[in-house]
Symmetry: C2
Subunit: 385 residues, 2 copies
Amino acid sequence: MREVAIIGAGMAKWGELWEKSLRDIFVESALLAIDDAGVDKIDSMYIGCMSSGLFVGQEHLASLLTDYLGLGPVPATRVESACASGGAAVRAGFIEVASGISDIVLVGGIEKMLDVSGDGATFALATAADQEYEVFNGVTFPGLYAMMAVAHMEKYGTTRKQLAHVAVKNHHNGSMNPLSQFPQKITIEDVISSVMVADPLRILDCSPITDGAAALILCPVELAKKICKKPVIKIIGSGHSTDTIALHSREILCELGSTQRAAEKAYKMANKKPEDIQLAEVHDCFTIAEICVIEALGFVEKGKGGKATEDGLTALGGKIPVNTSGGLKSKGHPVGATGVAQVVEIAKQLRGEAGKRQVQNARVGLTQNMGGSGGSSLVHIMEVL
Amino acid sequence: MREVAIIGAGMAKWGELWEKSLRDIFVESALLAIDDAGVDKIDSMYIGCMSSGLFVGQEHLASLLTDYLGLGPVPATRVESACASGGAAVRAGFIEVASGISDIVLVGGIEKMLDVSGDGATFALATAADQEYEVFNGVTFPGLYAMMAVAHMEKYGTTRKQLAHVAVKNHHNGSMNPLSQFPQKITIEDVISSVMVADPLRILDCSPITDGAAALILCPVELAKKICKKPVIKIIGSGHSTDTIALHSREILCELGSTQRAAEKAYKMANKKPEDIQLAEVHDCFTIAEICVIEALGFVEKGKGGKATEDGLTALGGKIPVNTSGGLKSKGHPVGATGVAQVVEIAKQLRGEAGKRQVQNARVGLTQNMGGSGGSSLVHIMEVL
């Protein structure tokens, strides 16, 4: 297997992009990535997208986007793993470059969720859960994560206030990210007094509905060393794992087995341990998710995620800053784009291009992207050469 | 890159499977493939599916199917390229094994189209076209292929009767395939007098709406030689290309550029020429499609596809039998499953397991799978070792 580098990273402003279509949003971020890499050809494309069919009535997505990007006959494939579709696209691009099939691969992530047709965004998102056993019985994602939160609070004594700390931290980080959908700083009181969605989760515990895209350019490390004018970022670990798609099938509701196993694989490939990771972008679709994820990644012991967040371990300036971009919570969560945008943030941080939210001397970063209530997870580890 | 073999192929009966759910249909074919390969572990899975979101309200498909197949934490990703989703899954599995990331990969294809929810099967299928420029203006796929047929008839003098010959041949082949949805033999007169759908295409020029799945087991050739009790089939060529997604953007309406380019890549990788191919499964979603495809693959000169079909070149016993399985026309067309099922047929033929429709002494076969009106194409070439 060839070693794989990231030589381009692009992302335009996320939010309610009423004036732009699905294809416009993608092309904008893709051109930023191509420009960042300084390449004049692309050999292949992978697009992470959860449900352009249900959101905007368009499948055959990779072919459409290749066409609109002016890349004509380049091979292009869409990959889907619900909200982990972006991470799955990163892995597909990584494998394609590693295999030797293609040299320069564009990995994009996209979702246009706001001008949804058909049965609405909640229905479209719920198709990431088990339709026959969960959705038909009325389950939605806030409900599933609320059950995980209650289980975590019962088992470990995690508090309502600790959940709020995740949101406050991520909005603080997001206030320094000019591409964030919701860059407003918020307080613990704001979160605790916001409207209830699914007890104990309130609206400020939930990531928003977002239009947005992100893109990366990957190539072999050998080639990157020759053509890349910026520091070369190497993907040193890639892990992917699944779990039962239905939350009720799991023995422990508040443990993310797919994340734990994906991380173990990525750490092994990278020859790194959790304590070697200097910053991470993780899947905080709900505040409780970030708490469960940092436990599954081994950053803290099981049950200690809430306390660690409250104590500032994962804040900017803490031992391991988590979601410096603002995370899904503040930056936004266009589901198929999220996993790609996480890698964009780590690449920018490792190059020292993260502006006010820069983590000093960062050399090793991690991304964790998750589908459904943890039915699939992808973990990638990057190091600057 | 490692050499890649097919060691298992499975497909259950296709048709109107009202009594089986999406997951049941997949598991049935996947277990046949696993049993055929005789393996007791799977390292990774790829699922080709066009639109389980629009057809049955279920995304996060690969995770769901891994769960229901009892493969628990195995990495699994869905790939989509409209009706070429199955071919894209074959290629993803091929690249994964070639890269060295995984040894034993299950490649599945699935679509459950008949108990469609929402806006119906025609709407779901139309999302493979350009939604903003084609679908909003009323285009459907029979309409697009009808335009291609008219263009072919105008340019080359292809006749109404020659189109019918494609359907008659494929139903004749399908009558010998116990898994076909419509194994009835039909006549030229049946086709020409059947109900009009989009002039000149009549209902018997069109492939049906189908529930079905198919699955393959891939592994490195070196491993296959050790564990495989049946003849080892090697994937010697894989080509993938895109084209403008909208038919109106093409210079010549009746040429399939994506198929031609994908074939050139596959021939080059395989070090074969069109005349080396002994049989092929191609994407006859409409009768005109097979005529354009055999031209794009170089089996006949441009414009000669209709005449060659009429003359029996592509019939069983002809110089190059095409769609011995019955093709999409008779076997059925569960869109995401089609590209995988094509490879299943070639594998069975190259092993000498194709029963009454067996092509004698077949050693090299080809599959061609296409999305939309040719916006994407995948070509694979297989050889028995």
